[in-house]
Structure formats: structure tokens, C-alpha cells
Amino acid sequence: MTQVFKRSANTLSRFSIYGFAFFVIAMGAVIYAVNKSPYLTDVNVIRDQPVPFSHKHHAGELGIDCRYCHTSVEESSFAGLPPTATCMTCHSRIWTNAQMLEPVRASYRSGKSIEWTRVNAVPDFVYFNHSIHLKKGVGCPTCHGPVAEMPLTWRANTMQMQWCIDCHREPERYVRPRDQVFRSDYHPPADQLALGRRLVKEYKIQKLTNCSTCHR
């Protein structure tokens, strides 16, 4: 009776056994990497906008408060995008000939909204509320990054669940005093943990990690 398998089958069997293990691990790594990559998360990716609005100029250099444009951020789940009238409050008189601002003027003339491309968003199955985060001492840059230094706006964090949970588990590592939440020049003190623990107690910050906190 002839042998069913040739000698080379030994090598191939080893190759397939170890190869399969390698393949599974490698695939896991690839999935992880793709999931974390800007391709999926949009982190550090500048989105095209109808007008190349610079937060660096407006919020950074001019020192306009976040709330001047994002008016509903303290009272509502949604921070709000400014109506064209807010742009025109200044640009009815400043840079009135700038070609760059023509879409803004056109919008103001016609009453048709400027269609901005959304930069920061969570999936529809996530409930998120801006106002409560501000009241508990989470600063704008904690999630949105150094927006006041962004010439064009990009997303600074993945907004994935792992990232949310990091802070929900240990808020003391991230919170700041309430009167500092809108400041872009705030730097956490060296003893952030001591400050954080004090604020967690003072603001009655709960470590909400229940599924239904966000998925409701």
C-alpha cells in the first residue's frame, strides 16, 4: 500500500497549524489597526468645508469664546452650529470683499443654510449631552482637542466607546474646575489626581459605566 501522504505533508501540516495561529493573530492585529486608523475614526483628518473656517483665528487669536457661536452648549445636548447671522454679525463690516466669504454672504442673502461638514459625531445609538459634561467639569479641549490652535478643524479623538469609557471610569484624571471648562489655555496642574478627586467629590461626579447611561 502506498503512503497516503508524502514527506512534504509534514512540513505543510506544521505550516498550516502554526500558520493558522499566526493568521488569526495577524487578522486580530489588522482589525485592531484598521479600527483605530484615521481611515475609520477620522482622527486628525481635515474635512472639506464650504468656507475654510479657522478656529485658530477666531477662537485663538481673537479670543472669541466658544459660546459666542455654539450658544446652546450649556443648556442642551447639542452644542449648536451658528446661523449665518452670527458670522455676519462681524462680517457684515469686516472682510466684506473677501471671496472666501462669498458662500456666507450668499447664504445670508438667500436664507439658505451653509452646509457644513460635521467633524465630531457619535453614532446614532449613543446618547450624548454636552451640558452635563460641562457642568461636571469636562472642558471643551478634553474631547475636542486644541481647537483654538486648529487652522482647519479636525477630530482630535476617536469618539469610540473605549475612549468614552476611559474617562467614565476615571473622571478624576480629566476633570477641571467649572470656571475653566471653556478655556483653551488651561493646563492641568501637576497634581491633577488630587484636584480631580476633590472635584469628583465636590461636583458629585458619578462613575457611570452602565450600558444604559449612553445606550438608551
Binding site: 502506498t2 497516503v4 479670543g63 472669541i64 469664546d65 447639542f78 449648536g80
Partner: protein
């Protein structure tokens, strides 16, 4: 993501060809290249799949989202004329218009506390100081960048102006200034007016106005 992973498993588990032959199997190059094909397919599937879960985008209207249903493309609808939302029946003439019997009111609609003043200062610094300046001198950052300067709050005309005048200007705009009615609620507008009054006092105060206990800190701050 999960769907893609399931796809990977299915592709990888599918037998390449039936292994029933009794003769020795010859593992040709062609076979090896075929064995690698599913791997390549999986990588492609991963890269092509947008990895979006079905519930990511739900058929619900989010704030300021685009709508295909309405003609103007807006999901947020303007309020039908004559509609009064619950709790927003604005019958209080003084509180909502700053007028009293049709003329600019001199009095405030509610007693101003220290908290109101502090809130007024905060709102003033957000919405007003850009043009009017932190001290109300009309030389704010936007004015320095070319916006027509507003008058200083410390001129006689505005020092004599009734509180209702400032409320009216914030609500309806004035000259080149746009309305701030959509950005600042009526109560906060009054708090801003109170803070403007405080600014006016501050620029014309005498040392005698300052409590004795506070004078020391003032002298230190002035230097």
C-alpha cells in the same frame, strides 16, 4: 465590524476542494497560491468594508440635520406664526421688551443679586466685550480689527440712558450691531444691562465709594 469578521471565518473555513483522492496529494504552486487567495480576499474585505454597524445611522432627525422631506432641506422647522410654546407666553412687557408703557424702562424687572451680576459679567465677556471692550470703552478686539467702533458706555448720553434702552439694543440690534435675541435669553440680557451699569460705576467711582477693607487691595491692583 462583526459582520466582516463573520465573513472572514466563512471564507477561511470553506474547503478548497474535496480531499477524497487516494493518490498522494501534490501541493503544487497553484495550490499554494489558491490557499493564499482567501487571506487576500479577507484583507480586501476588511479594507473595503466601511465597518459601519447598521444602527450607526438611524432614520431619526438629529439637530440641524439635513432633511429630504422638506423643501428647504432643513429638518428643524420654523414655528408656525402665532404659536406659543408652553411656558413662553411673553405677556410681561418689561421683562421681554424692556419697555414700560411703551417707553424704555428705568427699572429692572427683577431684583439684581450678586449672582445676577456675576452671570451678567460672564455673558458680557462672551457676547459683548469683543466689540465693546472688557471695560466698556468700545475698543474691543473686533473693533481693533476694523469693525466700526461703538460708543463708549462712559459717555454722558449712555450714562443717562435708561436700563431699558440697553435691553432694547441687545434684543433688536442698533446701527451696525446685530440682534442678540437668539443668543442671549431675556433674563441674561437684563443681567448684562446690570453689569454695564456696574462698568459705568467703575469708571467714574471715587476712592470713597470703595469699602475701607477693600481699599488696600485696590491700591495694589492699580499698580
Amino acid at each position: 465590524m462583526l459582520r466582516n469578521v463573520a465573513g472572514i471565518v466563512c471564507v477561511a473555513a470553506r474547503p478548497l476542494r474535496p480531499l477524497r483522492s487516494s493518490r498522494p496529494l501534490r501541493f503544487s504552486r497553484r495550490f499554494l497560491s489558491r490557499a493564499l487567495a482567501p487571506g487576500a480576499a479577507v484583507v480586501c474585505a476588511l479594507l473595503l468594508g466601511a465597518c459601519r454597524q447598521d444602527m450607526q445611522v438611524q432614520p431619526k432627525i438629529l439637530p440641524l440635520a439635513e432633511s429630504q422631506f422638506f423643501e428647504d432641506g432643513r429638518s428643524a422647522r420654523p414655528v408656525v406664526a402665532g404659536t406659543v410654546a408652553r411656558g413662553q407666553l411673553r405677556t410681561d412687557e418689561l421683562l421681554f421688551t424692556g419697555k414700560s408703557n411703551g417707553a424704555d424702562a428705568v427699572q429692572f424687572p427683577f431684583a439684581i443679586t450678586r449672582q445676577d451680576l456675576e452671570r451678567g459679567r460672564e455673558r458680557y465677556n462672551i457676547y459683548c466685550s469683543l466689540c465693546h471692550g472688557a471695560s466698556g470703552d468700545g475698543q474691543g478686539m473686533i473693533v481693533q480689527r476694523g469693525f466700526p467702533p461703538p460708543p463708549s458706555y462712559h459717555i454722558d448720553r449712555l450714562r443717562q440712558a435708561p436700563a431699558g434702552h440697553f435691553f432694547d439694543v441687545i434684543t433688536n440690534g442698533y446701527g451696525t450691531m446685530f440682534s442678540y435675541a437668539s443668543r442671549v435669553n431675556p433674563q441674561d440680557r437684563w443681567r448684562i444691562v446690570a453689569y454695564i451699569r456696574a462698568l459705568q460705576l467703575s469708571q467714574n467711582g471715587a476712592l470713597a465709594d470703595v469699602p475701607v477693607a477693600e481699599r488696600q487691595t485696590l491700591a495694589g491692583g492699580a499698580q
